[in-house]
């Protein structure tokens, strides 16, 4: 029962095939049986069952929506009142927030049942989910490989059909890359589309929350609940929220103009099996009536270097709040205030987080600011302008989400630059503030491949419609891993 889509579960609950309490119990059992994936940091069975009972009562009163009673999970970066929110860091191992994130309140108000908090890379810094203080997450397609990151726990949980949907965050690809590596659908909305209130900050000019699920239709249902204006996030944009599910249409792709950036298909290091699967996906779009055009995004190769100046610079500033004084880890017996800061942070943060704080500190330090940070901001504009020109000619841009399929645990842990290149196709989207999603588009060597579709600002409806149309023509999104045990 628990392994169906959100749309199917909503309909089944409405028909009375089962109650939300029964569904939630079966979900919690499935999560327990899949413990080897290490997809969750914290489970909340008591509050989940209470929310499920409330959802059943709401349905009995005739007050049910599409998410009422449907179990979901939250990435452990979203603050949950009364439930530990660790950001997968020792720094916040004991942190129990006194308030809920906007996304958490919105989904609860829509009737969704939160079963727990998913594992992730520490402070969302990673592309493999190996930097978590709570250990690596395993890819349900092959437990010797990574699920991608940083929203790796959410991706693994949805891919293994433990929950039909989960929340994620995406600063440089952290929703789309794990979605691709685990064979699910994941959407990074436009910068500012969803309030970040209560979402622990990594890089503030890039961070955005979004939904992860198995189908584009389910992404639309979740986005509907998550989007909206919130004055408590000063970067949240006050834009009307369209009816995303209605905008899915009948899946007709006729007239959709799809751009193929030649740089995405000529890039070094793209696996031939990924390229083959994505080319087949583009062919499916063409057969479905889409018009395919070649375009150019000439500054594609500069996106990763720009990101690895801007994101660490912003992170070094955001993470200065962890000082061992107000909340979070505090070292024992500090000799003086400086010792308190240094050892609390040194003990609380893992090595990748320290690395990025130091890169950011260096890039922002006196004498280096112009050469690194200012230069990166200038190239950022060039990258954004490339997209603006492309969207004069096309409605969506298609390409691979990640250059390879899931790689072995440990394969890139000692080489940060190689790890950073896992996000070569996703990072430019964050720099430009655009919405983009990844949908399953086949397999290479038995491991999932993702098709990335990039849309214009606030055009999530078009993106979801294109993805929905693709999923009417293909059945990759229905494939699921077989879990042993």
């Amino acid at each position: 029962m628990h392994d169906r889509t959100i749309a199917e579960l909503g309909a089944a609950l409405e028909r009375g095939e089962c109650s939300s309490v029964e569904l939630t119990r079966s979900t919690l059992d499935a999560i327990e049986q899949a413990a080897e994936l290490n997809a969750f940091i914290t489970l909340t069975p008591e509050t989940a069952l209470a929310e499920a009972a409330a959802a059943d009562a709401a349905r009995a009163r005739g007050e049910a929506g599409p998410l009422t009673g449907v179990p979901i999970a939250h990435k452990d970066i979203f603050c949950t009142e009364g439930t530990r929110t660790s950001c997968a860091s020792r720094m916040l191992d004991g942190f129990v927030p006194p308030y809920d994130a906007f996304v958490v309140s919105q989904l609860r108000a829509a009737g969704a049942v939160s079963v727990g908090k998913t594992n992730m890379d520490e402070f969302a810094m990673g592309s493999s989910n190996e930097t978590s203080w709570y250990g690596a997450v395993r890819n349900p397609w092959d437990t010797g490989t990574v699920p991608g990151g940083s929203s790796g726990g959410s991706a693994a949980a949805v891919a293994a059909r433990l929950v039909p949907g989960a929340t994620g965050t995406d600063t440089g690809g952290s929703i789309r890359q794990p979605a691709a590596l685990t064979g699910i659908s994941g959407l990074k909305p436009t910068y500012g589309r969803i309030s970040r209130y209560g979402m622990i900050a990594f890089a503030s000019s890039l961070d955005q929350a979004g939904p992860m699920a198995t189908t584009a239709e389910d992404l639309a249902i979740m986005l509907q609940a998550m989007a909206g204006f919130d004055r408590r996030d000063s970067t949240c944009v006050d834009q009307p929220v369209p009816d995303y599910r209605a905008a899915l249409g009948d899946g007709n792709l006729r007239g959709l103009r799809v751009g193929l950036p030649r740089e995405y298909f000529e890039a070094d290091g793209v696996d031939s099996e990924v390229a083959r699967a994505v080319e087949a996906a583009v062919e499916a779009l063409r057969e479905g009536g889409a018009e395919i055009r070649e375009i150019s995004l000439p500054n594609t190769g500069l996106a990763v270097p720009v990101y690895y100046v801007i994101a660490p610079a912003e992170a070094s500033s955001n993470l200065s709040r962890f000082d061992g004084v107000r909340y979070g880890h505090r070292c024992d017996d500090p000799a003086d205030l400086e010792d308190l800061y240094k050892r609390s942070r040194g003990e609380g943060f893992g090595e990748e987080v320290k690395r990025r704080i130091m890169v950011g500190t260096y890039a922002l330090s006196a004498g280096y600011y112009d050469a690194y940070y200012l230069k990166a901001q200038q190239v950022r504009r060039m990258i954004r302008d490339d997209f603006a020109r492309a969207f004069e000619e096309v409605d969506v841009i298609a390409g691979p989400t990640a250059p390879s399929t899931a790689f072995a645990l440990g394969a890139k842990s000692d080489d940060p630059v190689q790890m950073y290149l896992s996000d070569i196709f996703t990072i430019a989207v964050n720099l430009a503030g655009l919405p983009a999603l990844s949908v399953p588009a086949g397999f290479g060597g038995g491991r999932p491949v993702g098709l990335q579709l990039i849309g214009n600002h606030f055009d999530e409806a078009c993106l979801l419609g294109a993805a929905h149309g693709y999923q009417q023509l293909t059945d990759w999104h229905t494939r699921r891993p077989s879990l042993e045990g």
Binding site: P98, T190, Y191, G192, S205, R231, S234, T235, V237, L302, V304, P305, Y308, V309, S316, D323, G324, V325, R326, Y327, G328, R330, P334, A335, D336, L337, E338, L340, Y341, K342, R345, G346, F349, E351, K354, R355, I357, M358, T361, Y362, S365, A371, Y372, L374, K375, A376, Q377, Q378, V379, R380, R381, M382, R384, P416, V417, Y420, N430, A432, G433, H457
Partner: protein, 95 residues
């Protein structure tokens, strides 16, 4: 740009981070590789290009200067490592 262990120590000090001596050499190597990787930006001609700080180029939204939050000191201090009489405690700063 190559970073050595002494420079790692200086950067770590600026960031108020204790970094163990046994990993500072690895950090030096990683930081050097990352900086070498991002230095390709230096070759890009950006003459006349305005820096982009916000992807949608929006400016900070202002709100009326009104009280919209209650004082919740007890609630917030309940999660602090060390407090006393409503104060956060740190090692003595002024002798």
């Amino acid at each position: 740009m190559s970073i050595d262990a002494d420079e790692v120590a200086q950067i770590a000090h600026l960031a108020r981070l204790a970094v163990n001596a046994e990993v500072s050499q690895a950090h030096a190597q990683n930081l050097s590789e990352i900086l070498a990787f991002v230095e390709r930006l230096g070759a890009v001609d950006t003459t006349g290009v305005e820096p982009l700080a916000h992807p949608l180029e929006m400016t900070q939204r202002l709100r009326p200067d009104e009280v919209c939050e209650d004082n919740q000191r007890e609630r917030f201090q309940a999660i602090a490592p060390l407090t006393e009489d409503g104060h956060y405690l740190v090692p003595r700063v002024i002798e």
